[in-house]
Subunit: 221 residues, 2 copies
Amino acid sequence: MVKVGVVLCGCGRFDGSEVHESVLTLLHLARGGAEWVGLAPDTAQWAVCEHFGGEVQAGEDRNQLQEAARIARGEVAPLAQVSAADLDALILPGGSGAARNLCDFAERGGDGAVLPELATLLRSLHAARKPIGAICIAPAILALALGPHRPRLTLGPSSSGPALEAARTGAEMVDCPVDGVVVDEAQRLVSTPAYLRGPGIAEVDAGIGKLVAQVLAWCRR
Amino acid sequence: MVKVGVVLCGCGRFDGSEVHESVLTLLHLARGGAEWVGLAPDTAQWAVCEHFGGEVQAGEDRNQLQEAARIARGEVAPLAQVSAADLDALILPGGSGAARNLCDFAERGGDGAVLPELATLLRSLHAARKPIGAICIAPAILALALGPHRPRLTLGPSSSGPALEAARTGAEMVDCPVDGVVVDEAQRLVSTPAYLRGPGIAEVDAGIGKLVAQVLAWCRR
């Protein structure tokens, strides 16, 4: 059975993983007959935010792995304990937490860096030609980790601030609708804008369904 | 457009709403062309649990409405502010948090009581013949609120402890597989066992899809 890691970083769009994108990824993997395992850093979130407007709650503290277990029903392992040999593919859901916990793209844009254990995992998977899918803002993580390889990715509108920042890494940023995917066939990378475009869960689900199908198709080729 | 309330009570199976069941409910409502609004008590959760084994974390405190906003992307209103006239239907996802935050079924079984504002809302909707759907352990809430009307419901295996407790209210508890629903046509109630049976998100999704379709069919009849 194909085994796919799903990188989580908390539970909630502002301080962790976007909940809908994460759950829909798990849904399509299960429907597609794949085994999934959640992976998350066993460290504190960048912040704790209330989830109406996203305001940071001073003095609060939550652990990414512990909160990710809410999404993954406990099926989540510390990211640092997993290597490319353990997985057939990797998918990264979005949420602005992903641009702050898993890298510092939200602060430093195209000059940012990826969490070292995730950067290592991504580069190892890429070198082994194992597929990687990235949703919403998470393609920015691929740009930061793999930019010199000129990956073909989307962050929704190609003229948006995040897309222009990601393009500074060397990545080719392509416009894409919410129900579509951008495929880098040569490098086995696939991305979809999800809630970067919205408007709702049904449209986001359509794009994520295509992304997961592409990842599984590569795994089985 | 049909407007359906979705009753949440936090974000996580042990201390709040089961995340998959909640998100899949929103997905099927959106796909079915309905408008949804999350509803949650603006009060503290019964506890905060870690989500590997469910152990209570002493000294921690989270608000049901604030945590539900993580699932609903901020589209959640205080339960006490909504009345039956505002909604065409109501759906209650599960999670053991639902049996502790929204009622005390987990502690008191068939002798339990439902949170007063939710009991009032359920009885008003029922009196107005507006459909109600309940997932996983949440049919126990309908049993406690509507037992004397002898509602036909499921909590998975009809000989399980929870089903036997729920039957003490007067409810008729019917066996049901994970991908099925139990329909009380006369009272416009529909239920599905979801993670009471498992095993995974794809099977749970099949039952929730049928539940939402039944609710929307009643709304449009």
